[in-house]
């Protein structure tokens, strides 16, 4: 009989050993599936690694995918650290994209020095405002922010669709006949394209650099500022925060807005770094907001770990695209990616819990609290 027990102490080596073990388990399980479907496991793995990270241009492509994951991952980490469950990074990213593309269109004839900061700020403001809605509802009417932020994702998706497909909005390109028949957004001018940093042949998008700055800022906020201290107290015990005179409502709104701002930068970078047009279908298919939750969870809400995990998941996702073809169905790619994520997240359990094999049904042996180490 198998029991799962909470670990009394969490050993440090587990933090390294568990992810490594999870990866091995994923390799083993996917190897079985690959062998069963008539593919060469080792070869597939090698190709996955090659296309994701090693091949010519692979890292540059990985960084493009990693950029929104990094920012939505930070968005989730920022909120989750305070036990505020912002599931709405998806919608906040859409809004960031709407805001950034709107400003980009409006300032199309200005210089990059003006347009790019304006796009970043627009992304921050719209993302933050969108996240503030569930924040205010949570703080002042005790509405469950999981539900409201999730529902607002659909609203944001419909809003984008409306702007491009169902209206003659400012974002929609109506300049040519084809554009009027096949709706699409206005493309931004070249001066609205964000620069990238070339490093050893790898192009690192401006959005990713912003994300790294944001990660450092988030770490600083949570570990070194009064604001972050208050947020951590609230996250740990709302009763203790109230007792300590911390104004919990304002803080909830502020942290939600912070989280939304990060996702909003992600949306702005999708426009500035990659798409250069408000593309509702492309953004909705990518589901970066939801993937960001996975990134944050795997990174255990540590902002620096979010950077690493975003790059790994970005590469994995890119490699998946290049694997699929005539002999390698997309479904199998999804299965492989799913297995890796599943093993990684399931492994997390082992950091906090241990599995014990016992002979008979014995009651769960909990150490009594009174004996806690003094």
């Amino acid at each position: 009989m198998i029991r799962i027990e909470r670990r009394l102490t969490e050993a440090r080596w587990l933090v390294v050993a568990v992810p490594a073990g999870s990866l091995l388990a994923a390799a083993f399980l996917s190897g079985i599936i690959l062998a069963l479907t008539g593919h060469d496991p080792i070869g597939t793995w090698a190709r996955l690694l090659d296309r994701g990270f090693l091949a010519e241009g692979a890292m540059s492509a990985t960084f493009v995918t990693a950029t929104p994951l990094l920012l939505t991952g930070l968005a989730a980490a920022a909120a989750f650290r305070m036990q505020t469950w912002n599931i709405g990074a998806e919608g906040q990213l859409y809004l960031g994209a709407v805001g950034a593309s709107g400003i980009g269109i409006a300032l199309h004839d200005q210089s990059p020095v003006l347009i790019i900061p304006a796009m970043v700020i627009a992304g921050i403001v719209t993302g933050a405002a969108w996240a503030a809605i569930p924040g205010v509802l949570r703080a002042y009417t005790r509405t469950n922010e999981i539900i409201t932020s999730l529902m607002l994702n659909y609203v944001a998706g419909l809003l984008m669709t409306y702007l491009i497909f169902d209206s003659h909005s400012y974002w929609r390109d109506l300049s040519t006949f084809t554009a009027r028949v096949f709706p699409q957004g206005k493309y931004l001018s070249d001066s609205a394209s964000w620069p990238s940093l070339g490093l050893a042949g790898i192009a690192i998008p401006f959005g990713f650099l912003l994300g790294m700055v944001a990660a450092a800022a988030l770490w600083l906020i949570y570990s070194r500022t009064r604001f972050g201290f208050e947020a951590r107290v609230i996250g740990d015990s709302r009763a203790a925060a109230h007792y300590a005179g911390i104004r919990t409502r304002r803080k909830i709104v502020a942290v939600m807005a912070l989280s939304g701002a990060l996702a909003g930068i992600g949306g702005a970078s999708e426009i500035g770094d990659f798409r250069h047009v408000l593309d509702p279908r492309g953004l909705q298919q990518a589901s970066f907001g939801y993937a960001g939750i996975v990134v944050a969870a795997l990174a255990r809400l540590n902002p620096f770990a979010v950077v690493i995990v975003a790059i790994l998941l970005g590469g994995l996702s890119n490699a998946g695209f290049s694997l699929q073809g005539a002999t390698f169905p997309a479904g199998l790619v999804g299965t492989l990616q799913g297995l890796i994520l599943f093993c990684a997240l399931a492994g997390e359990l082992l950091v906090h819990y241990r599995i014990r094999f016992v002979r008979r049904a014995a009651p769960l042996a909990r150490a009594p609290e009174k004996f806690g180490a003094a």
Partner: protein, 520 residues
């Protein structure tokens, strides 16, 4: 120690095999030897007290006897026959029943429903309950043991004392021959406790066996036939209650002579400045219904005013109204001469109101944050801990090292999460933080509940020392002995009203007890 008590006293039968024999019981938890070779014997028809401080191993031993834990070593015999309990259900079937300190009743169910919950017997035909059969049996039992309770009442409608009766009835309903009661009087008035003792004597007179777990010496003396004292997982001894006294029991329990800290008799400090004044204060409780009515109370600087009462009579609301955690609906709260707006904990903190809440781990500290961080839970806003919105980790650490030493907080490092500390050390963290803020008024709610004798003594000493420095203290406690030991004046809270304020010299336990029950 093996001398059996005289026959007849409490109906004890010495010629039959003991109801419970535990031999060489050992139970280890990571880093702790909770029970170390315990030999424990209880006779039929006996009320046997199990006495010990927190952490002495009482709960572990009773959890072993009820099948919740399995011993690493040792054997258990019931009525002379060896038994083993792989699961709690096996212990129940063997006739062992436990009345927990914190009741395990479903609040929205009736008394009758709670009694049959999870229990199968003749009254239980498949999925259908036979309410009348159950109710009839409950009526029989409550008459037999003088525990009046309405079988159709829902649990949430009952007082704490009544809920406890339901717990005891539940155990008896399931045919328990051996009853274990864990700290049964912790939430009762003196009169309710006396009623409980009567019931226990009736139960014992039927040759049933009662194990009475407690750390209160007086009640052990009042109710038991014999006492077994545990200390640090070992049996220190078993004595006849008639041949011992509280002093000897205290020494066995603690391992040294205990002189409880007491306030020296002295004149009341009437000339001093008023630290706190409540004028006709009313407030609502958690459910929005009135919980405090028209409270008038004064605490002078350097004075300790005790608020006695059974939990749930407005104590929490009273503390929260003063400390700004709760809004009042009427009246005024005046701290050192100035009215406070209320409903704003930060305002109270800034006005010099310190607060030790009864919910230590959930409210008093942020459990996952480190000891160092918890020590600046209020001071983090001010220099030197923070300037311009930025924290100074070095100063947080120095502050922690300093306070940990001054208040002898037993933590291996300032970075340990607060929840890993023992109750006594968590309370020291709270006291260190609140007292180092140089308060003018301290509101302390049940500051020693759940602490062992040593920690209790330290906390009481700190409270007296603090009052000696001119801080006004409002001591809200269910422990009447504590209030009698520390307070200059005693107010009794019942049903949200102050039933009376007496000087300590004029206080009588009986009179206070009656006020606590709303009878005077």
């Amino acid at each position: 120690m093996k001398t059996p008590p005289p026959l007849g006293e409490g109906g004890v039968e010495a010629d039959k095999p003991p109801a419970v024999t535990m031999r060489g019981i050992t139970k280890r938890f990571p880093g702790v030897l909770a029970n170390d070779g315990i030999d424990f014997e209880v006779l039929r028809g006996e009320i046997h007290a199990l006495l010990g401080e927190n952490g002495a191993g009482k709960s572990t031993l009773s959890n072993i006897l009820t099948g919740l834990y399995r011993p690493d070593e040792g054997e258990i015999l019931l009525h002379g026959k060896p038994v083993s309990f792989p699961a709690p259900r096996d212990a129940i079937e063997a006739g062992v029943g436990m009345v927990h300190q914190h009741f395990r009743l479903a609040a929205s169910f009736t008394v009758a429903e709670n009694l049959v919950l999870g229990h199968r017997d003749a009254a239980d035909r498949g999925l259908l309950l036979e309410p009348r059969v159950v109710e009839g049996r409950i009526a029989d039992l409550s008459r037999r043991y003088r525990m009046p309770v309405n079988p159709r009442a829902r649990i949430w409608q009952l007082s704490v004392g009544e809920q406890q009766r339901v717990e005891i009835l539940k155990v008896l309903y399931r045919g328990a021959r051996i009853l274990i009661l864990d700290e049964p009087t912790s939430q009762l008035t003196p009169q309710e406790a006396e009623q409980l003792f009567q019931t226990l004597r009736l139960i014992a007179a039927e040759q049933r066996t009662i194990i009475f777990i407690s750390h209160k010496l007086e009640e052990v003396m009042a109710v038991s036939n014999r006492v077994t004292v545990l200390r640090r997982g070992k049996v220190i001894g078993t004595v006849m209650t008639g041949n011992t006294n509280t002093r000897e029991l205290a020494r066995m329990m603690v391992g040294r002579e205990v002189v409880f800290t007491k306030k020296k008799e002295g004149p009341a400090q009437a000339e001093r400045q008023v630290a706190l004044e409540l004028r006709r204060v009313s407030a609502n409780g958690e459910l929005g219904t009135p919980a405090l009515h028209d409270i008038n109370l004064q605490v002078h600087a350097g004075e300790i005013v005790g608020v006695a009462g059974v939990a749930g009579n407005g104590q929490r609301e009273l503390a929260e109204v003063i400390t700004g955690l709760r809004r009042r609906t009427a009246g005024s709260v005046i701290v050192t001469g100035r009215q406070i707006r209320g409903g704003d904990p930060l305002e109270a903190i800034r006005r010099g109101v310190a607060y030790i809440p009864d919910d230590r781990l959930g409210t008093g500290v942020a459990p996952s944050l480190s000891v160092a961080e918890n020590l600046v839970l209020k001071a983090f806003r001010r220099p030197p801990i923070s300037t311009q919105g930025l924290l100074h980790p070095g100063r947080i650490r120095t502050n922690a090292v300093d306070l940990m030493q001054r208040f002898s907080i037993g933590a291996s490092s300032p970075q340990v999460p607060a929840r890993q500390l023992s109750g006594g050390n968590i309370q020291k963290v709270l006291l260190a933080r609140e007292l180092s803020s140089r308060p003018l008024l301290l509101v302390a709610s049940s500051p020693t509940s759940g602490l062992d004798v040593g920690a209790t003594d330290i906390v009481r000493g700190l409270l007296l020392e603090t009052a000696g420095r001119g801080v006004g203290i409002l001591l809200i406690s269910e422990d009447l002995d504590e209030i009698l030991a520390l307070a200059d004046r005693i107010a009794v809270l019942y049903d949200g009203r102050i039933r009376g304020v007496v000087e300590r010299q004029d206080a009588h336990v009986e009179e206070l007890g009656l006020m606590m029950a709303g009878a005077a």
